[in-house]
Symmetry: C2
Subunit: 346 residues, 2 copies
Amino acid sequence: MKPMAPSSIDLTTGRIDLTHGAGGRSMAELITDLFQRALANEWLAQGNDQALVAVPPGRLAISTDSHVVSPLFFPGGDIGRLAVNGTINDLAMSGARPLYLAAAFILEEGLPLADLARIVEGMASAARAARVAIVTGDTKVVERGKGDGVFITTTGIGVVPEGIAISGDCAQPGDQILINGPVGDHGVAILAQREHLGFESEVCSDSAALHDLVAAMIAAVPQIHCLRDPTRGGLATTLNELARQSGVGMRVFEEAIPLRPAVAAACELLGLDPYYLANEGKLVAICPPDAAETLLAVMRAHPLGTESAIIGEVIADPQCFVSLRTRLGGERLLDWLAGEPLPRIC
Amino acid sequence: MKPMAPSSIDLTTGRIDLTHGAGGRSMAELITDLFQRALANEWLAQGNDQALVAVPPGRLAISTDSHVVSPLFFPGGDIGRLAVNGTINDLAMSGARPLYLAAAFILEEGLPLADLARIVEGMASAARAARVAIVTGDTKVVERGKGDGVFITTTGIGVVPEGIAISGDCAQPGDQILINGPVGDHGVAILAQREHLGFESEVCSDSAALHDLVAAMIAAVPQIHCLRDPTRGGLATTLNELARQSGVGMRVFEEAIPLRPAVAAACELLGLDPYYLANEGKLVAICPPDAAETLLAVMRAHPLGTESAIIGEVIADPQCFVSLRTRLGGERLLDWLAGEPLPRIC
Ligand SMILES: Nc1ncnc2c1ncn2[C@@H]1O[C@H](COP(=O)(O)OP(=O)(O)OP(=O)(O)O)[C@@H](O)[C@H]1O
Ligand SMILES: Nc1ncnc2c1ncn2[C@@H]1O[C@H](COP(=O)(O)OP(=O)(O)OP(=O)(O)O)[C@@H](O)[C@H]1O
Ligand SMILES: [Mg+2]
Ligand SMILES: [Mg+2]
Ligand SMILES: [Mg+2]
Ligand SMILES: [Mg+2]
Ligand SMILES: [Mg+2]
Ligand SMILES: [Mg+2]
């Protein structure tokens, strides 16, 4: 391909302006100099309107998420890493091996190009680490005050191994409920960054790609019934979603649910319930009772699951209630998240 | 699945608030009452984090576009139809048969639910007409002043028939250049809606899904070299992209390029060049010279190509210039779009 004339993109001091989304020369320069360079792969290099990819035979998983997190950078990650890991995780929750991602950017006029470059580098490194390729993209620019820095929508495809049938409607009474570590880290990490909350903490986002952990889990326990990442709405809402889909109830045990002291302290201070805080590197797994100990051992053996725990069980309940057995032996309803404690969390 | 308690969603007078993006009960209600109802299909009904789809064997095409058009409704379409057709078209430009779409929504607090419902209905009807299914989605909400009503990112996958190898780098000197109808309609339709331009016209957007037209074209002329939809940047920029990718030059003829009188008049009035205006239902095709008449006949026989024309030819030129032979016999350079005549056009 013929190289363009010398580019006008200044990744150090430049800012996004409307020409970067107009479809003309300066958009082409931005794509060549920044996106294609950082995300470098054969598909992007082609520069066609679509990427042509090879997929092994099998059922294909597809998932999409827009990311609008504020602030763009936070302890433990940034919007770019979140966007890559988030979509990988939604694919992985079917047992799929993630293969390819598409990334669409909505940039606000005035965004420093240095911030954008940092975000795209983060995406590139997260994609490399996860062995997925970002094969196609899009770049739009909105006027100042019509966006918020950058929104990123990632969509992914992956292939589900034969013999795996994981779905939110497969939970059965007697099944055990597991989680791969402490809840609420991501929510508290974001909260702590919002200056007006006058609150600081050392908690980092748990943002991570879970597909390797899932691969180990299904290799050991192919009969896993459900997997879901408790993102917005937190553990409590995810359990309610699964309970509703499967037409069952659930009971979880407060003392069994991993929780960092720093997160517990932040929740205490701010009057928040950790079970409703978002996570970006956690999964809930539901499996037959006789497989639970095997599954737990496999999860604990993985770097992203060292603090895994069995947190509760599925019960028969036509009302599909989720309840929490407290440390003191009481029982309270863990309802769906209502209201809006934490907007723009992911 | 157990139905939720009575829903709080009022699609007539309600507005989007932050709870609709918080991941809890009211987001679930919005998804159930609006998105799943309008887009109804087996995958969405499942409610998992991803959709599992079957794809026939073959190479897979994947493409993504964010849509940020302003205004949201315009003559000939709306942001929802544009989002469905736009991604279908980018898939079709590889010769692929589009199969499945993902749709991610970034909603601004305060958006009337009636507007959102109208947009989603438009998407549903465009998807039905194109025989594609919107199988998975996402819903985020940003605070008032951090978005602009609604942004929609659609990502699609499709399957490329065997024996088809269409790519922007395949144009060869001697090839003929075709288009399926008049240029600039979409750009003028949007412009005319921007009140501050104090300008009215009867021009409608050409927004359309081109995959059926493409299927007819490749059935008749499987050796098509290039296909591209001249969206942002218009015909001129698309030709430059293809010229650069293929390392060739191009010459097009002013008198051969279809143009509606109303679009010509609007361009005259506003000092715009129609070759840089966006189209949303046009394609440029490049094919070997001996196939051009066959291709033209097939295009003209299709409802979306009745005004098709051969508009120029590919020439050898290491500089990759695109030139326009004017009606008066002069020749001028048709460069890449520079600057920003029309922000937020798609
Ligand atoms: N942010 C990005 N990251 C990586 N690749 C990108 C990005 N933006 C665009 N691209 C790539 O650049 C090329 C041109 O993208 P562009 O969006 O102009 O194509 P299009 O979708 O056909 O046009 P339009 O968006 O106007 O409909 C494509 O190959 C696309 O995958
Ligand atoms: N606008 C929409 N249109 C159609 N389906 C949607 C829409 N928004 C969400 N969905 C569907 O609703 C379900 C829940 O979506 P949700 O975004 O909560 O899942 P998630 O991506 O796992 O969570 P998060 O977005 O917090 O990471 C999924 O099946 C998703 O496909
Ligand atoms: Mg998600
Ligand atoms: Mg999820
Ligand atoms: Mg695009
Ligand atoms: Mg496009
Ligand atoms: Mg295109
Ligand atoms: Mg989502």
